[in-house]
Symmetry: C2
Subunit: 370 residues, 2 copies
């Protein structure tokens, strides 16, 4: 992953220079826009950068340049893909800023979420009206700003491509991703709030649809495809990247679901059991409900989504989910999906160095602890 | 304005066909996304379409085609500009959806705002948790969706241009507009909530900056420039369009400020005195504060922004603002700005038909009652 870390640095440098240009626009409008600049930078430093990495390796897989990102001379060739990877990270930051409002999350990566930062700015400055409402309003606008910027950064990258058909296909992939993940996010809140209107036998299917559109396509398949399309990849190459990306994306999110219930707060940066308090209707919950007797299922349904759950209740729910065998079933699903992903690489017309790296990323994202 | 109405029809047709394509994506994901489709259409029908009209006339002014939008044969030539005009309307709908959350507005054009529509959907379906929170969350996502779509529609239009430099310049104008209006909206809520931290002598300057970035550039100057750039307009042409657009945009917003306080609810679709209950710190308020004695100014400051203001209080505030001469001063400013706008057209290297139409639009937007 040394290769990966170096790329993460290149992406960060690109993000920083892009934000420098945007802050000069903000400064030309007024000095009191400083929080928009400061907080956008804060949400664009750090993070795991998985989307950027998948985008890069999709590109390398299809172009087979065996490109060495350590060599100075090639920086120009790398500019389109680094910009596209950086654009995905901007889009993701914008989505998280809005998601945290929607989920009423106080924290992000162990630090305050954007609306909480603005809320604090308001309270400390002693402005009028409610600090929490200012926090939400300002965070909606910050998300909108970064959403627009993600688009500009992608365009800057695609403008450097001489292959115009590749640029158009890459743009279409990004657009589709943007619509699908927003729809997936809507389905997610719908599932949380209307699951009781659907039969017990439909819960798994609902969770699967959320996982597909909100997570698997968005976090893995689309970034890989975007990279592959920027490289001007062939139809069989794109098909292999998607065949790898979709199951791996499902595994990625299933791991996330386990971490949301059982993760260590010190490692994830989110309170342990956070998904239980939020009442997320994940695959893990759907599977647990299928396995539990009706009494235990009713108790799970009753407690799930109660923001006031205490430590003892969280531990009891964790125990219930574990003991019914749901965790083992999800671990089995993760294993199966990762195997499906790996199988898609075997005879794929993709570069060997990328295949090796994608195989290693598959391990990382499916076994991660944060 | 018959010419104008015909254009409005062309823009609506373009919006409808674009939304048809997007709803087929939504349908492929799931039938329960129907509200996203329905409500996006609702916020994209009707409205005054001033931005679309300015965009078209900026194009006509710079291209001087003397184009007849009634003639069937020319539809292909018109496609880029109609798509760009439609994209501005999509962007505007997205901004309004988010603005109504921020301003906690219950209505838009006399009908429920987006977050209220989703709130009602939730309540009627008997879903879990709070209907108002679902309303806000779903409307944030709907705004994000339409924001992304505005961008796609602009791209579809610009892709048809053979003049690539013109396409790039048009895209840059749209991007700059997007950043500036979002920053302007942030400055607007900041002005509402932190005006008391600034000196009495700074209030007019603060209001002027909001009016410039949130309204004047966004509603008039940028649409005109976008159209002019799509036509491949020369620097003197663009300069003339901006010289007309910025002062007219200021006049447009000053009229809006008057309507927000004195407008007829039946005509504006917003409750009369709405801006007073919302506590908007407009130029009208800044001017009134300068003119009022300290006791009356303190009373204005105290009442402004109280959502519970009753009819009698609204009438008293209207009377105070009127009697101090603030309305006359604003009417004088509108007249001056419209004169400045008209002056910019006199020797401008723009087509005569467009000059005549822009002159007529100047009258419409500065004298409108809704």
């Amino acid at each position: 992953m040394a290769h990966g870390s170096r790329l993460v640095d290149l992406v960060q440098t690109r993000i920083d220079s892009f934000l420098d240009e945007r802050s000069s626009i903000l400064r030309s409008i007024g000095t009191d826009l400083e929080p928009l600049d400061e907080f956008s930078r804060r949400f664009l430093s750090g993070g795991k950068r998985f989307r950027a990495l998948f985008c890069y390796w999709g590109w390398e897989a299809a172009s087979g340049t065996g490109f060495d990102p350590f060599a100075d001379g090639d920086a120009r060739d790398l500019a389109p893909i680094v910009s596209a990877a950086a654009a995905l990270e901007l889009f993701h930051a914008a989505a998280l800023i809005h998601d945290d409002i929607i989920d009423r999350s106080d924290t992000r990566r162990g630090a305050p979420s954007a609306h909480r930062l603005f809320e604090r700015t308001h309270a400390e400055a002693g402005w009028l009206r409610r600090s929490d409402e200012f926090g939400t309003s300002a965070a909606i606008l910050l998300g909108d700003l970064v959403l627009g910027w993600s688009d500009e950064l992608l365009d800057e990258g695609l403008a450097l491509l001489t292959d115009r058909a590749a640029a158009r296909a890459a743009r279409a992939e990004f657009n589709r991703m943007r619509t699908e993940v927003t729809a997936g996010q809507y389905l997610d809140i719908l599932a949380e709030q209307s699951w009781h209107r659907r039969g017990d036998d439909e819960q798994r299917e609902i969770a699967e649809r959320v996982i597909t559109f909100k997570a698997a396509k968005y976090s893995v398949e689309a970034p890989l495809a975007l990279g592959g399309l920027i490289a001007g990849g062939s139809a069989p190459q794109l098909s292999a990247l998607r065949g790898f990306g979709l199951p791996l994306g499902i595994a990625y999110q299933l791991r996330d679901d386990l971490l949301g219930v059982f993760g260590d707060a010190d490692v994830t940066g989110k309170p342990s059991g956070d998904d239980l308090r939020e009442g997320k209707r994940t695959m893990l919950i759907a599977v647990a409900r299928e396995r539990l007797a009706s009494g235990a299922r009713a108790l799970l349904d009753e407690l799930l989504g109660d923001p006031a759950l205490d430590e003892a209740q969280i531990r009891m729910l964790q125990r219930t989910i574990l003991d019914c065998g749901a965790v083992d079933e999800i671990e089995g699903l993760i294993e199966r999906e990762v195997a499906n992903a790996r199988a898609a690489l075997v005879d794929a017309p993709l570069s060997d160095v990328a295949k090796a790296e994608l195989g290693s990323l598959a391990t990382t994202v499916s076994r991660r602890t944060s």
